[in-house]
């Protein structure tokens, strides 16, 4: 399960409007609006269309950011949420 590849919509598949610590995101394919808070927007930005496995994503995030509480389980939980919302595809 953890060698699944996670994909985000293409660049123009989302409209993104930061509000405060929440970011409003409009998913064009579904017409649904979501409210995201850290680290969800950052995960979407990094995943892109190419897709990454859970471990590769964790590594990328660790490169770009200082992960204050970065457990693999926490990241998996965030990805599950995004998958359930329809924003991320797991293949």
């Amino acid at each position: 399960m953890h060698d699944a590849v996670y994909r985000a919509p293409p660049i123009d598949g989302l409209l993104i409007a930061p509000l405060d610590e929440f970011t409003a995101v409009y998913h064009r394919a579904s017409g649904i609006t979501h409210l995201l808070t850290e680290p969800a927007p950052q995960i979407l930005a990094v995943l892109g269309e190419g897709g990454l496995s859970l471990d590769a994503l964790l590594d990328r995030l660790a490169e770009d950011y200082e992960l204050s509480d970065g457990t693999r389980e926490a990241l998996a939980a965030r990805l599950d949420e995004l998958v359930e919302a329809g924003l991320v595809e797991a293949a």
């Binding site: 409209l15 409007a17 509000l19 405060d20 610590e21 929440f22 409003a24 409009y26 064009r28 017409g31 609006t33 409210l35």
Partner: protein, 280 residues
């Protein structure tokens, strides 16, 4: 008739609601072209119900089959509900905000909240203090420009608000008192001539207020995310408008501060609003 940019054509199985509408809306312009935006129908479910215990069903281009009928003496309320329904389900050109609106110097104040929060009453009271009345229940947000357009229909006053509004506008034309409707006692008030004359003049929104009636006076900022979510719930066609709706609403929230006002009475609310306005 035409209310702001929206033209309605109203058909009815009975003369009386039409007569009441004609009287109360007599100073409003006719639609600019002959094609109304919405058709509203007030009809009897069965032919004999036109005469025996007449009960009014509402419908039009958009139908919601679960709507319960109203007695004919509340026909004016039925007409209002029917127009609301058509707007709520059919409006595409504007993002419909469930909010009252008043204007000063080309800038609009929007007030939104649950039934009873006071948005209609406050708009009426502010209008009595010189603000231009734009609407008591719906404000139309143009996704292309971000401007708010007026929808100054007959002001729907409920229960205690009836007396409050009559006190502020002693010379206003009023519709019949309809006691004990499903929404309480209701009486309609015709907006002032200035409001009707200016109904085609949009305004730029600059302040969004969430009023709450019956609490000690307090003013607090509302975070952008909270205001955004509350406005998605307060808009009937946010989902239907898709991307345009998203742009319009996020644009509004990004440009306009949101404030919650708790108030014990109308006078206090007006004071709080004026203070916020001055501080903009």
């Amino acid at each position: 008739m035409r209310i702001g940019p929206i033209g309605f054509r109203i058909g009815s199985d009975w003369r009386s609601p039409i007569a009441q509408l004609e009287t109360l809306y007599r100073d409003y312009p006719k639609p600019t072209d002959s094609i109304p935006d919405f058709t509203v129908r007030l009809f009897a479910r069965r032919p004999w119900r036109r005469l025996i215990r007449p009960s009014v069903e509402i419908g039009g281009d958009y139908m919601l089959p679960e709507a319960a009928p109203l007695p004919l003496r509340q026909g004016l309320l039925a007409a209002e509900m029917a127009m609301n329904l058509q707007m709520a389900l059919g409006a595409r050109r504007y993002l419909l905000l469930h909010a009252s609106a008043v204007e000063r110097d080309g800038r609009a104040l929007l007030m939104t909240g649950i039934s009873g929060a006071g948005k209609s009453t406050l708009a009426t009271l502010l209008a009595a203090k010189g603000w231009r009345f734009m609407g008591d229940e719906f404000a139309l947000l143009d996704p292309a420009t971000g401007l708010v357009h007026a929808f100054p229909r007959l002001i729907s006053l409920k229960n205690e608000a009836i007396a409050t509004a009559e006190a502020a506008w002693p010379d206003a034309r009023m519709g019949p008192l309809m006691p004990a409707t499903p929404k309480g006692d209701i009486r309609h008030m015709v907006p002032d001539a200035g409001a009707i004359a200016a109904m085609d003049v949009p305004a730029r929104p600059v302040l969004l207020v969430f009023p709450r009636y019956g609490f000690e006076a307090e003013t607090r900022p509302v975070s952008p995310a909270e205001a955004f979510v509350r406005m998605t719930q307060a808009s009937t066609n946010y989902v239907a408008l898709g991307e345009a709706g998203f742009h319009a609403l996020t644009g509004l929230i990004a440009e306009v501060p949101s404030v919650a006002i708790d108030y014990p009475d109308g006078a206090s609310a007006i004071e709080q609003v004026e203070a916020l306005w001055a501080a903009l």
